[in-house]
Symmetry: C2
Protein backbone atom coordinates (compact mmCIF):
# COMPACT_ATOMS: atom_id res chain seq x y z
CA UNK A 1 0.00 0.00 0.00
CA UNK A 2 1.62 3.20 -1.19
CA UNK A 3 -0.31 6.46 -0.65
CA UNK A 4 1.07 9.78 -1.93
CA UNK A 5 -0.58 13.09 -1.18
CA UNK A 6 0.49 16.36 -2.76
CA UNK A 7 -0.48 19.92 -1.90
CA UNK A 8 0.51 23.34 -3.20
CA UNK A 9 0.08 24.84 0.27
CA UNK A 10 3.06 26.45 1.94
CA UNK A 11 3.59 24.30 5.04
CA UNK A 12 6.76 23.70 7.03
CA UNK A 13 8.18 20.20 6.88
CA UNK A 14 7.96 19.64 10.64
CA UNK A 15 4.33 20.78 10.82
CA UNK A 16 3.46 18.61 7.81
CA UNK A 17 5.04 15.58 9.53
CA UNK A 18 3.03 16.11 12.67
CA UNK A 19 -0.23 16.58 10.77
CA UNK A 20 0.42 13.51 8.63
CA UNK A 21 1.03 11.38 11.74
CA UNK A 22 -2.22 12.63 13.25
CA UNK A 23 -4.22 11.98 10.08
CA UNK A 24 -2.72 8.51 9.60
CA UNK A 25 -3.53 7.50 13.18
CA UNK A 26 -7.21 8.08 12.38
CA UNK A 27 -7.23 6.42 8.98
CA UNK A 28 -4.55 4.22 7.39
CA UNK A 29 -3.31 2.94 10.75
CA UNK A 30 -6.84 1.89 11.68
CA UNK A 31 -7.94 0.17 8.48
CA UNK A 32 -7.82 -3.59 8.19
CA UNK A 33 -8.56 -5.94 5.30
CA UNK A 34 -6.95 -9.14 6.58
CA UNK A 35 -4.35 -7.68 8.96
CA UNK A 36 -1.52 -9.06 6.84
CA UNK A 37 0.45 -5.80 6.81
CA UNK A 38 3.36 -5.27 4.45
CA UNK A 39 6.80 -3.76 4.96
CA UNK A 40 6.05 -1.33 2.14
CA UNK A 41 2.84 0.12 3.60
CA UNK A 42 3.56 3.83 3.30
CA UNK A 43 1.85 7.21 3.23
CA UNK A 44 3.86 10.25 2.15
CA UNK A 45 2.90 13.90 1.68
CA UNK A 46 4.66 16.51 -0.42
CA UNK A 47 4.00 20.28 -0.22
CA UNK A 48 5.31 22.48 -3.02
CA UNK A 49 4.27 25.83 -1.55
CA UNK A 50 3.47 26.91 -5.16
CA UNK A 51 0.13 28.48 -4.16
CA UNK A 52 1.82 30.86 -1.78
CA UNK A 53 -0.95 30.12 0.76
CA UNK A 54 0.76 29.81 4.11
CA UNK A 55 -0.45 27.30 6.70
CA UNK A 56 0.76 28.89 9.90
CA UNK A 57 -2.17 30.45 11.76
CA UNK A 58 -4.19 28.43 14.25
CA UNK A 59 -7.20 28.61 11.92
CA UNK A 60 -5.36 27.60 8.76
CA UNK A 61 -3.61 24.75 10.57
CA UNK A 62 -6.94 23.40 11.79
CA UNK A 63 -8.47 23.71 8.33
CA UNK A 64 -5.53 21.95 6.70
CA UNK A 65 -5.46 19.15 9.30
CA UNK A 66 -9.21 18.60 8.98
CA UNK A 67 -8.93 18.38 5.19
CA UNK A 68 -5.92 16.02 5.39
CA UNK A 69 -7.73 13.81 7.93
CA UNK A 70 -10.88 13.67 5.79
CA UNK A 71 -8.81 12.77 2.74
CA UNK A 72 -6.91 10.09 4.68
CA UNK A 73 -10.13 8.55 5.96
CA UNK A 74 -11.46 8.54 2.42
CA UNK A 75 -8.30 6.66 1.31
CA UNK A 76 -8.68 4.20 4.20
CA UNK A 77 -12.28 3.50 3.23
CA UNK A 78 -11.29 3.09 -0.41
CA UNK A 79 -8.64 0.55 0.61
CA UNK A 80 -11.02 -1.61 2.64
CA UNK A 81 -13.82 -1.31 0.09
CA UNK A 82 -11.27 -2.54 -2.47
CA UNK A 83 -10.24 -5.46 -0.21
CA UNK A 84 -10.26 -8.79 -2.00
CA UNK A 85 -13.89 -9.81 -2.38
CA UNK A 86 -15.20 -7.03 -0.14
CA UNK A 87 -18.83 -6.10 -0.70
CA UNK A 88 -19.06 -3.47 2.03
CA UNK A 89 -17.14 -1.20 4.38
CA UNK A 90 -17.64 -1.95 8.07
CA UNK A 91 -17.02 0.96 10.42
CA UNK A 92 -16.30 -0.25 13.93
CA UNK A 93 -16.66 2.37 16.63
CA UNK A 94 -15.69 1.40 20.16
CA UNK A 95 -16.42 3.85 22.95
CA UNK A 96 -16.33 3.66 26.75
CA UNK A 97 -13.21 1.48 26.90
CA UNK A 98 -10.78 1.99 29.78
CA UNK A 99 -8.49 3.96 27.43
CA UNK A 100 -7.92 4.58 23.71
CA UNK A 101 -5.46 1.71 23.37
CA UNK A 102 -7.95 -0.72 24.93
CA UNK A 103 -10.61 0.58 22.54
CA UNK A 104 -8.29 -0.10 19.61
CA UNK A 105 -7.49 -3.60 20.86
CA UNK A 106 -11.22 -4.37 21.08
CA UNK A 107 -11.93 -2.86 17.66
CA UNK A 108 -9.09 -4.91 16.12
CA UNK A 109 -10.34 -8.12 17.75
CA UNK A 110 -13.76 -7.50 16.20
CA UNK A 111 -12.34 -6.50 12.81
CA UNK A 112 -9.99 -9.49 12.68
CA UNK A 113 -12.64 -12.05 13.54
CA UNK A 114 -13.46 -14.08 10.44
CA UNK A 115 -16.75 -14.99 12.14
CA UNK A 116 -17.71 -11.31 12.46
CA UNK A 117 -16.57 -10.60 8.89
CA UNK A 118 -18.72 -13.49 7.61
CA UNK A 119 -21.72 -12.28 9.62
CA UNK A 120 -21.27 -8.85 8.02
CA UNK A 121 -21.17 -10.52 4.60
CA UNK A 122 -24.39 -12.39 5.37
CA UNK A 123 -26.14 -9.30 6.82
CA UNK A 124 -26.53 -11.25 10.06
CA UNK A 125 -27.14 -9.12 13.18
CA UNK A 126 -24.98 -11.54 15.14
CA UNK A 127 -24.35 -9.72 18.44
CA UNK A 128 -22.74 -12.84 19.96
CA UNK A 129 -19.80 -12.89 17.58
CA UNK A 130 -19.08 -9.19 18.11
CA UNK A 131 -19.40 -9.23 21.90
CA UNK A 132 -17.34 -12.43 22.22
CA UNK A 133 -14.62 -10.93 19.98
CA UNK A 134 -14.49 -7.95 22.34
CA UNK A 135 -14.21 -10.39 25.23
CA UNK A 136 -11.16 -12.10 23.78
CA UNK A 137 -9.26 -8.88 23.07
CA UNK A 138 -7.25 -9.22 26.25
CA UNK A 139 -8.31 -5.90 27.80
CA UNK A 140 -10.97 -4.93 30.34
CA UNK A 141 -14.43 -5.65 29.00
CA UNK A 142 -17.64 -6.63 30.75
CA UNK A 143 -20.58 -7.78 28.60
CA UNK A 144 -22.94 -7.04 31.51
CA UNK A 145 -22.23 -3.33 31.03
CA UNK A 146 -21.82 -3.18 27.26
CA UNK A 147 -24.18 -1.86 24.61
CA UNK A 148 -24.03 -2.80 20.94
CA UNK A 149 -25.65 -1.03 18.00
CA UNK A 150 -25.78 -2.24 14.42
CA UNK A 151 -26.81 0.44 11.91
CA UNK A 152 -28.24 2.48 14.81
CA UNK A 153 -30.40 -0.36 16.13
CA UNK A 154 -29.47 -1.39 19.67
CA UNK A 155 -29.20 -5.18 19.55
CA UNK A 156 -27.52 -5.89 22.91
CA UNK A 157 -27.46 -4.14 26.26
CA UNK A 158 -26.26 -5.01 29.77
CA UNK A 159 -25.42 -8.64 29.05
CA UNK A 160 -28.53 -9.46 27.06
CA UNK A 161 -29.72 -9.34 23.45
CA UNK A 162 -32.70 -7.05 22.93
CA UNK A 163 -35.85 -8.08 21.09
CA UNK A 164 -35.34 -6.74 17.57
CA UNK A 165 -36.93 -7.09 14.16
CA UNK A 166 -34.04 -9.24 12.89
CA UNK A 167 -35.23 -9.12 9.27
CA UNK A 168 -35.35 -5.34 9.38
CA UNK A 169 -31.87 -5.02 10.92
CA UNK A 170 -30.55 -7.54 8.40
CA UNK A 171 -32.01 -5.48 5.56
CA UNK A 172 -30.38 -2.36 7.00
CA UNK A 173 -27.02 -4.17 6.98
CA UNK A 174 -27.34 -4.86 3.26
CA UNK A 175 -25.57 -1.55 2.58
CA UNK A 176 -22.30 -0.16 1.24
CA UNK A 177 -21.39 0.91 4.78
CA UNK A 178 -22.33 -0.83 8.01
CA UNK A 179 -21.90 0.89 11.36
CA UNK A 180 -20.99 -1.22 14.38
CA UNK A 181 -20.95 0.68 17.65
CA UNK A 182 -19.86 -1.04 20.84
CA UNK A 183 -20.05 1.07 23.99
CA UNK A 184 -18.15 -0.67 26.80
CA UNK A 185 -19.37 1.78 29.46
CA UNK A 186 -16.15 1.43 31.44
CA UNK A 187 -14.27 4.65 30.68
CA UNK A 188 -13.60 7.27 28.04
CA UNK A 189 -11.36 5.35 25.64
CA UNK A 190 -12.55 5.31 22.06
CA UNK A 191 -11.54 4.53 18.50
CA UNK A 192 -12.93 4.14 15.01
CA UNK A 193 -11.62 1.37 12.77
CA UNK A 194 -12.40 0.59 9.13
CA UNK A 195 -12.69 -2.93 7.80
CA UNK A 196 -14.62 -5.01 5.27
CA UNK A 197 -16.57 -8.24 5.09
CA UNK A 198 -15.19 -11.67 4.12
CA UNK A 199 -16.68 -13.41 1.09
CA UNK A 200 -16.10 -16.45 -1.13
CA UNK A 201 -14.46 -14.05 -3.57
CA UNK A 202 -11.62 -13.47 -1.06
CA UNK A 203 -10.93 -17.20 -1.15
CA UNK A 204 -11.13 -17.33 -4.95
CA UNK A 205 -8.66 -14.47 -5.36
CA UNK A 206 -6.19 -15.71 -2.73
CA UNK A 207 -6.42 -19.49 -3.09
CA UNK A 208 -6.95 -20.05 -6.79
CA UNK A 209 -3.75 -18.64 -8.21
CA UNK A 210 -0.16 -19.80 -8.12
CA UNK A 211 2.71 -17.43 -7.61
CA UNK B 1 -14.99 -26.71 22.81
CA UNK B 2 -15.43 -29.16 25.64
CA UNK B 3 -12.92 -32.02 25.92
CA UNK B 4 -13.29 -34.69 28.61
CA UNK B 5 -10.70 -37.39 29.17
CA UNK B 6 -11.19 -40.31 31.53
CA UNK B 7 -8.72 -42.89 32.80
CA UNK B 8 -8.88 -45.78 35.22
CA UNK B 9 -5.29 -45.18 36.29
CA UNK B 10 -4.56 -44.37 39.93
CA UNK B 11 -3.07 -40.85 39.73
CA UNK B 12 -3.01 -38.14 42.37
CA UNK B 13 -5.08 -35.08 41.63
CA UNK B 14 -2.10 -32.69 41.80
CA UNK B 15 0.00 -34.80 39.45
CA UNK B 16 -2.94 -35.14 37.05
CA UNK B 17 -3.35 -31.34 37.01
CA UNK B 18 0.30 -30.78 36.19
CA UNK B 19 0.28 -33.39 33.45
CA UNK B 20 -2.93 -32.00 31.94
CA UNK B 21 -1.44 -28.48 31.84
CA UNK B 22 1.66 -29.82 30.11
CA UNK B 23 -0.35 -31.81 27.54
CA UNK B 24 -2.72 -28.90 26.83
CA UNK B 25 0.19 -26.49 26.24
CA UNK B 26 1.33 -28.75 23.40
CA UNK B 27 -2.10 -29.37 21.89
CA UNK B 28 -5.38 -27.57 22.62
CA UNK B 29 -3.64 -24.32 23.54
CA UNK B 30 -1.78 -24.34 20.23
CA UNK B 31 -4.59 -25.22 17.83
CA UNK B 32 -6.30 -22.50 15.84
CA UNK B 33 -9.25 -22.58 13.45
CA UNK B 34 -10.10 -18.87 13.26
CA UNK B 35 -8.69 -17.68 16.60
CA UNK B 36 -12.17 -16.72 17.82
CA UNK B 37 -11.81 -18.44 21.19
CA UNK B 38 -14.78 -19.05 23.45
CA UNK B 39 -15.26 -18.59 27.17
CA UNK B 40 -16.33 -22.24 27.40
CA UNK B 41 -13.19 -23.76 25.80
CA UNK B 42 -12.34 -26.44 28.37
CA UNK B 43 -10.38 -29.65 28.77
CA UNK B 44 -10.95 -31.78 31.87
CA UNK B 45 -9.53 -35.12 32.97
CA UNK B 46 -10.99 -37.59 35.47
CA UNK B 47 -9.10 -40.54 36.99
CA UNK B 48 -11.10 -43.25 38.75
CA UNK B 49 -8.17 -45.36 39.96
CA UNK B 50 -10.38 -48.43 39.26
CA UNK B 51 -7.55 -50.30 37.53
CA UNK B 52 -5.40 -50.15 40.62
CA UNK B 53 -2.44 -49.27 38.38
CA UNK B 54 -0.49 -46.58 40.22
CA UNK B 55 1.15 -43.74 38.31
CA UNK B 56 3.88 -42.74 40.74
CA UNK B 57 7.26 -44.00 39.49
CA UNK B 58 9.37 -41.88 37.15
CA UNK B 59 8.81 -44.42 34.40
CA UNK B 60 5.03 -44.68 34.81
CA UNK B 61 4.69 -40.89 35.02
CA UNK B 62 6.59 -40.47 31.77
CA UNK B 63 4.52 -43.18 30.08
CA UNK B 64 1.25 -41.62 31.26
CA UNK B 65 2.28 -38.08 30.26
CA UNK B 66 3.40 -39.26 26.81
CA UNK B 67 0.08 -41.04 26.27
CA UNK B 68 -1.92 -38.04 27.52
CA UNK B 69 0.08 -35.68 25.28
CA UNK B 70 -0.39 -37.91 22.23
CA UNK B 71 -4.12 -38.13 22.92
CA UNK B 72 -4.37 -34.33 23.37
CA UNK B 73 -2.51 -33.69 20.12
CA UNK B 74 -4.88 -36.11 18.40
CA UNK B 75 -7.84 -34.10 19.78
CA UNK B 76 -6.24 -30.83 18.65
CA UNK B 77 -5.76 -32.19 15.15
CA UNK B 78 -9.34 -33.49 15.08
CA UNK B 79 -10.60 -30.02 16.07
CA UNK B 80 -8.74 -28.19 13.32
CA UNK B 81 -9.53 -30.86 10.72
CA UNK B 82 -13.17 -30.35 11.70
CA UNK B 83 -12.86 -26.54 11.36
CA UNK B 84 -15.60 -25.04 9.21
CA UNK B 85 -14.74 -25.86 5.60
CA UNK B 86 -11.29 -27.21 6.44
CA UNK B 87 -9.84 -29.60 3.87
CA UNK B 88 -6.50 -30.18 5.59
CA UNK B 89 -4.54 -29.88 8.80
CA UNK B 90 -1.59 -27.50 8.64
CA UNK B 91 1.19 -28.17 11.14
CA UNK B 92 3.30 -25.09 11.71
CA UNK B 93 6.66 -25.73 13.31
CA UNK B 94 8.78 -22.73 14.21
CA UNK B 95 12.33 -23.31 15.43
CA UNK B 96 15.32 -21.08 16.07
CA UNK B 97 13.29 -18.18 17.47
CA UNK B 98 14.82 -16.08 20.26
CA UNK B 99 12.66 -17.97 22.80
CA UNK B 100 9.61 -20.24 22.95
CA UNK B 101 7.17 -17.33 23.34
CA UNK B 102 8.59 -15.61 20.25
CA UNK B 103 8.26 -18.90 18.36
CA UNK B 104 4.61 -19.10 19.37
CA UNK B 105 3.96 -15.48 18.35
CA UNK B 106 5.45 -16.21 14.91
CA UNK B 107 3.51 -19.46 14.53
CA UNK B 108 0.26 -17.68 15.49
CA UNK B 109 0.91 -14.86 13.00
CA UNK B 110 1.34 -17.47 10.26
CA UNK B 111 -1.68 -19.52 11.36
CA UNK B 112 -3.92 -16.45 11.65
CA UNK B 113 -3.05 -15.06 8.24
CA UNK B 114 -6.01 -15.55 5.91
CA UNK B 115 -3.56 -15.18 3.02
CA UNK B 116 -1.50 -18.12 4.29
CA UNK B 117 -4.65 -20.15 4.97
CA UNK B 118 -5.88 -19.50 1.41
CA UNK B 119 -2.48 -20.46 -0.04
CA UNK B 120 -2.70 -23.71 1.92
CA UNK B 121 -6.17 -24.29 0.49
CA UNK B 122 -4.87 -23.69 -3.05
CA UNK B 123 -1.76 -25.88 -2.54
CA UNK B 124 0.31 -22.81 -3.34
CA UNK B 125 3.95 -22.94 -2.13
CA UNK B 126 3.74 -19.24 -1.33
CA UNK B 127 6.85 -18.58 0.76
CA UNK B 128 6.24 -14.81 0.66
CA UNK B 129 3.00 -14.95 2.63
CA UNK B 130 4.54 -17.17 5.31
CA UNK B 131 7.77 -15.20 5.70
CA UNK B 132 5.95 -11.85 5.72
CA UNK B 133 3.51 -13.15 8.36
CA UNK B 134 6.52 -14.07 10.51
CA UNK B 135 7.85 -10.56 9.93
CA UNK B 136 4.70 -8.90 11.25
CA UNK B 137 4.53 -11.01 14.43
CA UNK B 138 6.17 -8.25 16.46
CA UNK B 139 9.14 -10.31 17.67
CA UNK B 140 12.74 -10.66 16.46
CA UNK B 141 12.83 -12.15 12.98
CA UNK B 142 15.27 -11.67 10.12
CA UNK B 143 14.32 -13.10 6.72
CA UNK B 144 18.00 -12.97 5.69
CA UNK B 145 18.70 -15.73 8.20
CA UNK B 146 15.49 -17.74 7.95
CA UNK B 147 14.83 -21.06 6.26
CA UNK B 148 11.38 -22.30 5.21
CA UNK B 149 10.35 -25.83 4.34
CA UNK B 150 7.00 -26.93 2.92
CA UNK B 151 6.40 -30.68 3.09
CA UNK B 152 10.17 -31.19 3.54
CA UNK B 153 11.10 -29.15 0.47
CA UNK B 154 13.21 -26.10 1.31
CA UNK B 155 11.55 -23.22 -0.56
CA UNK B 156 13.33 -20.22 1.03
CA UNK B 157 16.73 -19.68 2.62
CA UNK B 158 18.77 -16.67 3.74
CA UNK B 159 16.42 -14.03 2.33
CA UNK B 160 15.80 -15.67 -1.02
CA UNK B 161 13.39 -18.19 -2.55
CA UNK B 162 15.11 -21.30 -3.85
CA UNK B 163 14.57 -22.71 -7.32
CA UNK B 164 11.96 -25.43 -6.79
CA UNK B 165 9.71 -27.61 -8.88
CA UNK B 166 6.62 -25.62 -7.91
CA UNK B 167 4.19 -28.11 -9.47
CA UNK B 168 5.77 -30.94 -7.49
CA UNK B 169 5.68 -29.03 -4.19
CA UNK B 170 2.09 -28.01 -4.93
CA UNK B 171 1.15 -31.64 -5.51
CA UNK B 172 2.84 -32.59 -2.22
CA UNK B 173 0.69 -29.96 -0.46
CA UNK B 174 -2.48 -31.59 -1.74
CA UNK B 175 -2.55 -33.78 1.37
CA UNK B 176 -4.51 -34.31 4.58
CA UNK B 177 -1.60 -32.84 6.54
CA UNK B 178 0.78 -30.15 5.39
CA UNK B 179 4.02 -29.46 7.27
CA UNK B 180 5.31 -25.91 7.41
CA UNK B 181 8.70 -25.52 9.07
CA UNK B 182 10.20 -22.09 9.58
CA UNK B 183 13.68 -22.04 11.13
CA UNK B 184 14.50 -18.49 12.24
CA UNK B 185 18.13 -19.34 13.03
CA UNK B 186 18.26 -16.79 15.84
CA UNK B 187 18.06 -18.90 19.00
CA UNK B 188 16.60 -22.05 20.50
CA UNK B 189 12.92 -21.04 20.87
CA UNK B 190 10.49 -23.43 19.24
CA UNK B 191 6.84 -24.39 19.02
CA UNK B 192 4.42 -26.53 17.04
CA UNK B 193 0.96 -25.17 16.21
CA UNK B 194 -1.98 -26.87 14.51
CA UNK B 195 -4.29 -25.04 12.13
CA UNK B 196 -6.34 -25.58 8.97
CA UNK B 197 -6.87 -23.97 5.58
CA UNK B 198 -9.55 -21.42 4.69
CA UNK B 199 -12.07 -22.32 1.99
CA UNK B 200 -15.28 -21.04 0.41
CA UNK B 201 -17.09 -23.53 2.64
CA UNK B 202 -16.01 -21.53 5.74
CA UNK B 203 -17.80 -18.52 4.26
CA UNK B 204 -20.88 -20.55 3.35
CA UNK B 205 -21.19 -21.98 6.86
CA UNK B 206 -20.56 -18.71 8.68
CA UNK B 207 -22.19 -16.15 6.38
CA UNK B 208 -25.23 -17.92 4.99
CA UNK B 209 -27.20 -18.54 8.12
CA UNK B 210 -29.08 -16.27 10.48
CA UNK B 211 -28.99 -16.69 14.22
Amino acid sequence: MLAYVTTDADVSSSLLSKMLASAVSKSLNVCVVDDHTSTNDTMAILASGASGVKVDSIQSKKKFLDALTDLSISLAKQIVSDGEGATKVVIIRVTGATNDLAAERIARAIANSNLVKCAMHGNDPNWGRIVSAAGLAGVDFNPDRAMLKLQDTTVFRAGRPLPIDAAKVSTSMNAKEVDVHLDCKLGSGETILYTCDLSREYIRINADYTT
